[in-house]
C-alpha cells in the first residue's frame, strides 16, 4: 500500500473525530478568479524574460571555499574549550516552540532532560526544527510503527 493511503487507516484508529470530519474544501473563490489568473500570468511574463543564470566555475569554487572556511571557523569557535557559547541556554522563544510540540508532561520532562544534558546541541537542533529521534515521544513511536506496518 502506498504511503498516501496509510493515513486514513491509522488515522481512523487514532483520531476518530478527525476521520469523521472528512476532507471537503470549504474555501471558495470569486467567480472567474482562476481564469483571471491566466491573464495575470501573461502580464507577469510580459514584464520581462527570465534570464538563465550562468555562474562561472571559478565563482562556484570561490563560493565553496568561502563557505567551507566559514563553517570551519564557526565550528572552531563553537566548540572552543571554555567558550560560553557551548553552554548557551535556549531562548524563551525556542523553548516555547519546542514545548509546543510536546503535549504531555512526560514528553516535556524528556525534552527538559535533553536540554539540561546538552544545551548547545539542543539549541542547534531545535532551531533547525528537528526533533532528535531519541526524544520523539513514546506515544508517537507507537503511531509510527502502526503507520509503517500499514505500508
Amino acid at each position: 500500500m502506498s504511503e498516501k493511503n496509510t493515513h486514513s487507516k491509522s488515522g481512523n484508529e487514532n483520531f476518530p473525530l478527525l476521520a469523521k470530519s472528512g476532507k471537503t474544501n470549504p474555501y471558495k473563490v470569486p467567480e472567474g478568479y482562476f481564469e483571471s489568473l491566466q491573464q495575470k500570468a501573461k502580464l507577469i511574463a510580459a514584464a520581462g524574460h527570465p534570464v538563465p543564470k550562468v555562474i562561472a566555475l571559478w565563482s562556484q569554487l570561490a563560493t565553496g571555499a568561502v563557505a567551507a572556511a566559514a563553517l570551519i571557523l564557526a565550528v572552531m569557535l563553537f566548540f572552543e574549550p571554555g567558550n560560553d557559547q557551548t553552554k548557551t541556554e535556549l531562548t524563551t522563544e525556542e523553548l516555547i516552540e519546542a514545548f509546543d510540540l510536546y503535549t504531555t508532561d512526560t514528553d516535556i520532562e524528556l525534552l527538559a532532560d535533553y536540554i539540561d544534558q546538552s544545551p548547545a546541541e539542543a539549541s542547534l537542533r531545535l532551531a533547525l526544527d528537528e526533533i532528535p529521534e531519541e526524544f520523539i515521544p513514546e506515544e508517537f513511536e507507537l503511531y509510527e510503527m502502526m503507520d509503517d506496518s500499514a505500508m
Binding site: 487514532n14 470530519s21 474555501y27 471558495k28 491566466q38 500570468a41 501573461k42 511574463a45 516552540e97 526533533i131
Partner: protein
C-alpha cells in the same frame, strides 16, 4: 494523459518559458491557491501571496533543474512566500482560542461549510503555522512525508511527529467542541 512534468521539461528544454509558465499556471494555480488559502485568513491575502508566488516561479523558471517533481518545486516556492507573508504580518504565533474564532471563519464570504467542517478548520487555525503546514500537506493534499520533507527541508521523523501532534490537538479540540 501525458505527465505534466514531461510537458514542462519539454517546453523548458526548448527555451519556451512563456508556454511553460502558462501551462504551470493553468495546471497548478488552483492547487497552489488552496494550499496557501488554508494558511491565511482571507481570499485577499491568498491572492497577494499567490501573485508573488507566480512572479517568483516566472523569474526562477530557467533555474528549475528537474531534480524534484514540478509540484514539489512550486509548492516550496508557495510555502516560502506564505511563511514570509505570515512573518511580515506577525502571524507566526497561533491565536489563542476564543469564542469569536469560529464566527470569524463563518463570516468569511469565501468560506462555506457545515458545522463539522467549520470546526475542523477552526482547530487547524489554532495550530502553530508549521504544524498547520505539515497537517494540511499530509491530510488534505495527501503528500507523502518524503515529499513534504523536500518542501520544508525537515527530516521525515520530525514531520511525522509534527503531524501526529497536530492531529492529536485537533482531535482534542473536536472532542471538546462537538455538541
Amino acid at each position: 494523459m501525458t505527465d505534466p512534468n514531461v510537458i514542462i521539461h519539454g517546453l523548458l528544454d526548448k527555451g519556451a518559458y512563456e508556454e511553460a509558465f502558462s501551462f504551470i499556471v493553468k495546471t497548478y494555480s488552483e492547487r497552489l491557491y488552496f494550499h496557501i488559502r488554508r494558511m491565511t485568513r482571507t481570499h485577499e491575502d491568498t491572492n497577494d501571496i499567490l501573485q508573488e508566488t507566480l512572479v517568483k516561479i516566472w523569474k526562477n523558471l530557467p533555474g528549475f533543474q528537474g531534480r524534484s517533481r514540478i509540484y514539489t518545486w512550486l509548492n516550496r516556492i508557495a510555502t516560502n512566500e506564505t511563511l514570509t507573508f505570515l512573518r511580515k504580518h506577525n502571524r507566526m504565533k497561533p491565536d489563542g482560542y476564543n469564542d469569536d474564532a469560529m464566527k470569524q471563519l463563518s463570516s468569511d464570504p469565501y468560506f462555506d461549510a457545515d458545522e463539522a467542517t467549520a470546526l475542523l478548520h477552526t482547530a487547524i487555525r489554532l495550530l502553530p503555522p508549521r504544524q498547520q503546514l505539515v497537517f494540511n500537506m499530509r491530510y488534505f493534499d495527501e503528500l507523502p512525508f518524503a515529499e513534504i520533507s523536500e518542501i520544508l527541508d525537515t527530516s521525515v521523523g520530525s514531520l511525522k511527529a509534527s503531524y501526529h501532534i497536530a492531529a492529536k490537538k485537533i482531535e482534542e479540540f473536536l472532542r471538546n467542541n462537538t455538541t
